[in-house]
Symmetry: C2
Subunit: 236 residues, 2 copies
């Protein structure tokens, strides 16, 4: 982790984050209170069970939020991309963090102290409103995830995950709609799906044999989206 300085005004992510609803004064306040760091791929920004001292705003890069079990096997709860806030759920709920945030690529991430953030949420109605809405949306997503894990087979969930990854890590700059632009190790994919790494490897091979996907280096290309969608919705 390397400290850098980055003004919120020059941040690419500001327009897509909750901060876009700040006025000038608020913006300067946040900008002067925050500290900004550069993290390398693999480094963690915060850890499960810790008490949050503020929130993090992802300026550049991508992170995975994970929870680990006794044997150290991790479950990926969700991903966050540029412009997203991290750790605010725990802060607002006044609870310890429930997940660990780890960079899956080189990342720039700013820390905004607790008081500054909570003040903002309390006083800026727009931010408040959007945060409320965002939380409600996320809860819906979580409910869908719960159903998926409870009712779908590993095969169905893997198909679903491939489509999800493609969509989540798609950016404007990438014209190639079918290439999954993030390259996660098989183990990470297994930790999204909730299965063993070997099972993911086997099923991916099977998908390749069936011409549903193809491997391009470390990346996966979707060859037959319709078929993957059919598989992912076989039961649910």
């Amino acid at each position: 982790m390397q400290k850098i300085h980055l003004d919120c005004k020059n941040c690419d992510a500001k327009s897509i984050s909750f901060l876009s609803y700040c006025n000038e004064v608020e913006f300067d306040l946040v900008s002067s209170a925050k500290s900004c760091s550069h993290y390398k791929k693999g480094q963690s920004i915060f850890y499960e069970d810790n008490i949050p001292m503020g929130i993090y705003c992802l300026s550049k890069g991508s992170i995975k939020l994970t929870r680990s079990n006794k044997d150290g096997k991790e479950q990926i709860i969700r991903f966050a991309r540029e412009g997203e806030f991290l750790g605010y759920r725990a802060l607002i709920a006044d609870e310890p963090l429930v997940a660990t945030a780890t960079c899956i690529e080189d990342t720039v991430c700013c820390f905004i102290p607790k008081t500054v953030f909570l003040d903002l949420v309390e006083k800026n109605t727009q931010i408040n409103k959007h945060m409320l809405k965002s939380l409600c949306h996320d809860l819906g997503i979580a409910d869908e995830r719960i159903q998926s894990l409870a009712q779908k087979s590993v095969r169905e969930r893997l198909a679903e995950t491939l489509l999800f990854l493609q969509k989540t890590f798609q950016h404007e700059s990438i014209t190639d709609e079918n290439l999954i632009s993030v390259s996660l190790p098989r183990e990470d994919i297994a930790n999204i799906v909730g299965t063993a790494t070997e099972t993911v490897i086997r099923l991916l091979s099977e998908f390749r044999t069936d011409k549903l996907i193809d491997m391009e280096g470390k990346k996966i290309r979707i060859l037959n989206r319709a078929a993957l969608e059919r598989i992912s919705h076989a039961s649910v």
Copy 2:
């Protein structure tokens, strides 16, 4: 469903719901705008995929929130008890409802129209704050659930579910700490755990043989809480 009239002021649930933060004026406003109904066990209050026209306040009884898959197999997402609000997540997110609410006992539930509710959330800072906090808390719960479903075995999840049900449906009036006061059919238990009904029946028999639980009529009594806790945390 039978329409009744119930003044919020005389409602047992008001002190534990978000409405407890209303002032007199707001209280009267809600009270005059709402409509109140009595539902029998098994009846549904609202349905998955529908557009919410308002929110529901559970005055008396308990409901299960479920999502169904193609084969009609339902997954229980969560339960709600007296004083809880239903359907507000979808309303705030401006999305269709993601779950169906079905009464698991005779229930009294009030409908508060969309505009009245949204106005309240916007204008009453206390309600807003508590709702924000509650949503954040619920998201943490959902994340735990996701990990549990992804990493724990059915046996572990069943032990967890029994402890959860005991805790969730415990009320002050019940002195008996170890009796699970709600009596759900095995199928419902399976739909919480995310498994087949037969598997639940088998595992419950096994738990009984091992003297971890006992059956009292339709209800389950916890005989060895420590052992159930050990089982439920075997891996996570």
